[in-house]
């Protein structure tokens, strides 16, 4: 019995004083890298097609995103061709207004560098994308990017 007691006393406690430091380090890392989602998705998260010849989108503040996919809300109809602008489901006719609204937020000199990113589900129809493209051309928003995943090259 006495031997046991002796052993117990000799056991040193693990020093956890540095634990907060480690945790804070991780915390700061995630705080810096985090980007909050600005819009709620009204459509199901689009399953992006994959491609290999992709370019990174630069200047995040100059990018406006158009989502195309299946509406979460069944009453809005099924099918993968619903367009989401800002926070609600819209039609292609509202795209010019959306772009013009986005333009008011950036300085005049930066407008030509604005890019429209189209995040469409791979089961959407090309017709919907074409409609959007024609509307974008009407308002001279000529730089677009079809958002894709990075696929493996084959």
């Amino acid at each position: 019995m006495s031997k046991f007691r002796k052993k117990k006393k000799g056991m040193p406690a693990v020093n956890t004083a540095a634990l907060p430091d480690i945790v804070f380090m991780l915390l700061f890392f995630f705080m810096v890298t985090t980007t909050m989602r600005e819009t709620d998705l009204r459509i199901e998260n689009p399953r992006l097609p994959s491609a290999t010849e992709i370019k990174k989108l630069e200047h995040k503040s100059l990018v406006c995103t158009i989502y195309v996919g299946k509406a979460k809300d069944e009453s809005k109809g099924s099918g993968y061709n619903k367009i989401q602008l800002n926070d609600k489901i819209a039609s292609a006719d509202q795209v010019p207004a959306f772009i013009i609204n986005a333009r008011t937020k950036v300085s005049e000199a930066e407008i030509p560098f604005m890019t429209t990113s189209i995040k469409a589900d791979k089961e959407s129809n090309v017709g919907t994308i074409t409609d959007i493209r024609l509307k974008l051309r009407d308002v001279n928003a000529l730089k677009i990017s079809y958002s894709t995943q990075k696929g493996s090259s084959n």
Binding site: V23, F30, E53, L57, V126, G127, T130, I144
Partner: protein, 214 residues
């Protein structure tokens, strides 16, 4: 003697608070980098615009129907063969190219390694790839086709760059980007820019989207 008491603040729960915040940021963070196939739309043509007449042989027609099947230059084709066919078309170099911007007369393509066939494209800068899809075509297939066509251009550009400068075009572009950012490499920027521009004009990406059929 004064009572020497040094009361310490109990920091034991600091870790808990930090953990709580950490978990919050862990959950809310999204680390995806936005990337995609970038494209520049053509400007809206004026009402009285007359499209220039382009020779049939300089157009590489790709049709995608509503069942996601491909028709290339009148023949059915699998998507995996598209890249090869596109390379063959672009790199044909059977005639003389467009006149230069400074008014110099068009030259024959001296870097092309194609068949120089009479019935295919004259010069890479004249070769137009036209993609026509149905309104009902799946977007995924459309992107796949675009991707294959871009791959064809990338391969040709890489080949030419490798020949002339002994590095691939991807590496050349990367070096150019780096040089632009780095103040110490100012003298190299101009040199790299000329090289990048040369390759880009040697094989310009001309992919046009035709109005979809319904």
């Amino acid at each position: 003697m004064a009572r020497r008491e040094n009361p310490e603040i109990n920091a034991g729960s600091m870790a808990d608070i930090a953990f709580l915040l950490l978990i919050f940021f862990l959950v809310t963070t999204t680390m995806n980098v936005d990337s995609g196939i970038s494209k520049k739309l053509s400007e809206k043509p004026p009402a009285d615009y007359v499209p220039p007449i382009i020779k049939e042989k300089n157009i590489f027609e790709v049709n995608i129907n509503r069942n996601n099947e491909l028709l290339v230059e009148g023949d059915r084709m699998d998507i995996k063969d598209l890249k090869g066919a596109a390379i063959k078309f672009i790199d044909n170099g059977g005639g003389i190219g467009n006149a230069g911007e400074d008014g110099s007369p068009g030259k024959a393509c001296d870097y092309c390694q194609g068949d120089k066939s009479e019935s295919s494209s004259d010069h890479p800068n004249k070769a137009i790839i036209s993609v026509q899809s149905d309104r009902g075509t799946e977007y995924g297939t459309y992107i796949q086709v675009q991707n294959e066509l871009l791959k064809a251009y990338t391969e040709l550009r890489n080949r030419l760059s490798q020949q002339k400068y002994q590095i691939t075009f991807d590496e050349l572009e990367k070096a150019y980007d780096e040089a632009k950012k780095n103040a110490g490499m100012k003298d190299r920027v101009e040199d790299l820019r000329v090289k990048v521009e040369f390759i880009k004009t040697a094989y310009p990406q001309i992919i046009s989207d035709a109005e979809p059929t319904s």
